[in-house]
Assembly symmetry: C2
């Protein structure tokens, strides 16, 4: 099985020494922010960004600019800002879900409570804009502001739609807002510093972001918990109607009749997950995600071969995480 770290390593290699140096600078800058508790970030926020992650979004920023990417201050700031916004949404998501663990560490909400987590997310959001504006680019701030707005709208849509019979189209729109717009924004920010077609790079990012979310939803149903770090059917327990469930309900009358609010325990959720899996819905959604990844790659042919290869590796990495 390919791991996210393998993907990062392969992508950085494809992006050349310049990409490797930028990733090193990114980690250093995030580390500085994580420990700068005074005027910088508070303890909880620092721990969240220091805990790491796949750094997929910064990689998208860098490689959307070129391979090798320009090693500019603006590049670095854009990548840091995207990762900070991502961290902010994780912290607020964990408040929404009441999750105890994230990346193997206690979440901010578990360690400091809902109130600290709310303020920590705000701090990370604000810090992202402060970081980005240092590059003096109005266009960059505009991209981040629009993406942040849509992320929040996606969260609101998720709450508004909880436990409801939503359409596939609405479910996809929510996934787009919640996840794909930040991937697209990463590509757009990178495109500001490169020669590529910004619209096509944004479309590439949006499609792999959507695929990423759909595969995440498949994993929520399929488990196993040892791999995902959360119980099977966490979405069912918090009322999130994901695409596997929608597809399965079209195929299974009993699932269609099921009152989602009656799913109260992890045992209930696991049983419903098994029923969803039995309909073949997971294969259907996985196949749609693969189509999205193929469509994403179809946006890249006008790019230089090396840059295209690096971005294709990221696209493949999104899928391989789940294979």
């Amino acid at each position: 099985m390919s791991t996210a770290t393998d993907t990062v390593r392969a992508v950085v290699e494809a992006g050349g020494d310049g990409a490797a140096r930028l990733m090193t600078r990114l980690e250093r800058r995030l580390g500085e922010l994580a420990t700068g508790h005074g005027d910088g970030l508070a303890r909880h926020a620092g721990e969240t960004i220091a805990a790491g992650g796949k750094r997929l979004r910064p990689l998208l920023v860098f490689l959307s600019a070129g391979a090798p990417p320009p090693e500019s201050d603006a590049m670095l700031r854009a990548a840091v800002a995207i990762e900070l916004v991502h961290s902010a949404t994780l912290v607020h998501d964990d408040v929404l879900d009441g999750s105890p663990l994230r990346r193997g560490r206690p979440t901010v909400v578990a360690a400091g409570g809902r109130l600290a987590a709310t303020a920590t997310g705000d701090l990370l959001f604000s810090r992202a804009f402060a970081e980005l504006v240092g590059s003096r680019s109005v266009a960059a701030v505009r991209i981040l502001a629009r993406a942040s707005r849509r992320l929040a709208a996606g969260e609101l849509m998720q709450r508004a739609d909880a436990w409801r019979a939503v359409s596939e189209a609405r479910c996809i729109e929510r996934c787009r807002l919640k996840t794909a717009v930040l991937f697209a924004a990463a590509c757009e920010l990178g495109a500001l510093e490169g020669d590529g077609d910004a619209a096509r790079l944004a479309a590439f990012g949006e499609r792999i972001g959507l695929a990423f979310q759909l595969l995440d939803d498949v994993l929520d149903v399929s488990g196993p918990p040892e791999r995902t770090g959360k119980p099977r059917g966490a979405d069912l327990l918090d009322g999130t109607v994901n695409l596997p469930l929608i597809v399965a309900r079209e195929r299974d009358e009993r699932l269609r009749q099921l009152d989602l609010r009656s799913i109260a325990t992890p045992g209930d959720a696991a049983a419903v997950c098994a029923r969803i899996a039995a309909t073949g819905a997971l294969e259907e959604v996985r196949s749609r995600a693969l189509t999205l990844v193929a469509d994403a790659k179809a946006e890249l042919p006008t790019l230089p071969a090396r840059q295209r290869a690096a971005l294709e590796l990221i696209a493949d990495g999104v899928v391989e995480r789940y294979s």
Copy 2:
């Protein structure tokens, strides 16, 4: 008794027709944002900004630029952005406090739950940056980003210090971060569009903002609830150690010995409030606020007389709210 609305009316009059027209445009723009649910703001966010308020911060933006202020797009955007950030902090504050009412309407947290309120605050924050960046001013975005970061740091400090014996200096620093920095930012944003000394205008804003918070803390202790819309001692109940309490504890041994966590009911809180009031702490804190307002006015003498008069009216309005 003077009301906030009287203050606004007097200030707008002092600021001339230009200020009046900008305030009208501000309300129209906020109204548009409040009803633009699609790509704009979700229902809860819209209700929050439509519910109004004193619009003190937008007035500071306008009148820090001049009297009459320049009627530019940048002015309007700055004022809208400041009000949106203010609304965002109110929504998240209400999550922290679990408050049922704000401005006589149910809070977002009461109407939609903590989860919707968290996302709504995020949406308002993001919308503020999106609005501001339309003016193409990197300097303006920088000011808002720094202020937003400090606001969040202030909230975190409030949670970290809950129920603790904090020093006066630390309490003042928290009030500065939580409240005064946004007043200062409003003045700085206005100063970008005018001829005044930005540093002195920021100092003016910071001082009246701090006075505003101290007087709010006095009101929390003094009540009456019919006037403040919240029970006496709400700060005591959520563990916020405010300046009146700190001053009172220096003067009253029994208050010093009191375990703040033992204050469990509104009745307990009201009794402690009465004890705080008996020490004379409220007069002491009110007097400090008045000194801050006088110091704030001392920053203004180099401004044109009409602008100075309008800003002095705002400063007086902060105090009159409480007289």
